[in-house]
């Protein structure tokens, strides 16, 4: 038994969940409220603590103290299961993401498995069960409609999600997420693969499909995490909140936080695949000293925060799609674009003999 490995892994898991993900989720909610307020020329929550920074704690206390009401007509087992299923996959996805280089010689990834991205898709697609079960078990019209919308939306956009990352792995030749990051350190970030190799025309040609791939993947992540403009499952105006209409107290909070956790894990995947992971030009990795290891982790989470802020920015700009528009966009545009993009990358790779 490798006790060192088990010990460090446990430490990483606990630190990741309780020091990084959960605080980040609650402060993402706070940031969402502040950013939306600032965009709409308001101030947002600024009463609890300095600049309202203790607001997430007050929210958590409120959620815990509220009455946990279970309607009489629900299917109790699935009704209780659904919030857990909404939260768990989002957190599990983080396991394979390299969130730093090394710290004291320990690699900063919880599970460096060689099927990295397949694991991500396998777990992330479980997230739909939480929503579908929540909608179905509530035994109510609006949650039911929300659940149906959610299932079709998530399944549709998983296609373009999967197809959009294929070019990345054609280039890297490995499904392991740490090798994707290593490739980007050697050859420049994948949204700009020409960095460090400015005179190479082939790399410039490669940047075009990579940016398309990035855009499609980002939009698909928006749809997967039910963010506006794709938030049809929980459209407040149409469905009175969608799949979590019948939920209250901490069960509602789990749905709510699960959405933000999914945002964080989705952003982490985007950062790892396209934005160079923990790499920042000019900063060495953790083998040069523990301070660089910490800086690498900070760089990674700064990038994740930037993507999340971008998601908020988009949310408070664009209106919601209509249902048929959403399906048309997913099946007739993003699916095709992603498919053609794969061939484009294949042609470029074959023509220039990478």
């Amino acid at each position: 038994m490798d006790y060192f490995f088990i010990g460090t892994s446990l430490l990483k898991i606990v630190a990741m969940i309780f020091v990084v993900i959960l605080p980040m989720v609650s402060y993402a909610v706070y940031a969402e409220r502040r950013v939306s307020a600032l965009i709409q020329d308001r101030l947002g929550p600024n009463r609890v603590g300095p600049a309202g920074l203790l607001q997430p704690i007050a929210d958590a206390a409120k959620f815990l103290l509220k009455e946990d009401f279970t309607p009489a007509t629900v299917n109790t087992f699935y009704y209780w299961l659904a919030p857990c299923l909404a939260m768990i996959p989002a957190i599990l996805t983080i396991a394979v993401v390299p969130f730093g280089s090394t710290l004291f010689g320990v690699p900063m990834v919880i599970a460096d498995i060689n099927v990295g991205i397949l694991y991500v898709f396998a777990i992330a697609s479980l997230g739909v069960y939480g929503i579908v079960l929540g909608g179905w078990a509530s035994n109510s019209k609006y949650p039911f409609l929300g659940g149906i919308r959610s299932s079709s939306q998530m399944i549709s956009y998983e296609l373009s999600l999967g197809l959009a990352v294929i070019p990345v792995f054609m280039l890297v030749g490995n499904l392991r997420l740490t090798s994707v990051v290593q490739y980007q350190i050697d050859h420049g970030w994948l949204i700009a693969p020409f960095i460090g190799d400015w005179s190479n025309g082939a790399k410039w040609a490669l940047a075009i499909p990579m940016i398309i791939s990035f855009a499609v993947f980002l939009v698909a992540i928006f749809a997967e995490t039910n963010r506006l403009p794709f938030d049809l499952p929980e459209a407040e105006q149409e469905l009175a909140g969608g799949y979590h209409t019948e939920y209250s107290s901490m069960k509602f909070a789990l749905f709510f936080l699960g959405e933000y956790a999914a945002m964080i894990s989705g952003s982490a995947i985007v950062v790892t695949l396209f934005l160079g992971g923990w790499h920042f030009p000019g900063i060495p990795d953790g083998s040069h000293g523990w301070i660089f290891g910490l800086i690498n982790i900070a760089v990674f989470f700064a990038k994740v925060a930037a993507i999340i802020l971008f998601m908020m920015w988009v949310r408070w700009t664009l209106p919601r799609f209509r249902w048929d528009q959403l399906m048309r966009l997913g099946w007739l545009f993003f699916f095709e674009i992603a498919l053609v993009n794969i061939f484009l990358v294949a042609i470029i790779l074959g023509y220039f003999h990478f």
Binding site: L38, I39, D41, R42, L43, W313, T317
Partner: protein, 176 residues
């Protein structure tokens, strides 16, 4: 008969929607930036920032009783305000001024003067109807309390809000 609403014909650039999305994102980030750099005027943060110095002179806040320059309660307990008050918020119990008093000619004074601030609608009719100019609407607007009893302003509270009023009609002082 069904009415067909004509759809606008969009050219390929408009149907791409990307320029429109970019323009929208630019607008929101502009608002965001203006808020960050405090160039946007926003709502006053009420308990810390108040607009009190800017309240207009005709502002109608809590009604209050006033004393005159001699320190006498100007109210003569005629009960006109009690009569006119639309929500019947005012209750007056008149008392008699003794013959030996300096102001014996006034004859009556309010023994009890209660205004129920839960009922008061700040209409200002009491001020308008008062022949003695004894009741005024002041600029106090934050009238709060934990019980209904606390929300009743008694005579001393009303006088405390009102203070002394100079420079208005003092018809009793010039008589006799």
């Amino acid at each position: 008969m069904a009415i067909t609403v004509p759809r606008p014909n969009l050219n390929w650039r408009e149907r791409l929607y990307l320029p429109a999305i970019a323009a929208g994102l630019a607008i929101t980030i502009k608002h965001f930036g203006n808020m960050i750099f405090r160039r946007t005027k926003v709502t006053m943060e009420y308990p810390e920032e108040k607009w009190d110095p800017n309240l207009p002179d005709h502002y109608r806040g809590a009604p209050a009783l006033v004393r005159d320059a001699d320190g006498r309660v100007r109210c003569v307990a005629c009960q006109l305000c009690e009569f006119i008050c639309p929500p019947r918020a005012i209750k007056i119990i008149p008392g008699e001024i003794s013959r030996k008093d300096r102001f014996a000619k006034v004859e009556k004074y309010p023994d009890e003067f209660d205004i129920d601030m839960v009922r008061c609608i700040y209409c200002g009719m009491c001020e308008e109807v008062c022949p003695e100019q004894a009741i005024f609407l002041r600029k106090d607007y934050a009238i709060t309390g934990f019980t209904r009893e606390e929300m009743v302003h008694h005579k001393d509270k009303l006088l405390e809000i009102g203070g002394v009023m100079h420079g208005v009609v003092l018809k009793w002082n010039t008589k006799k």
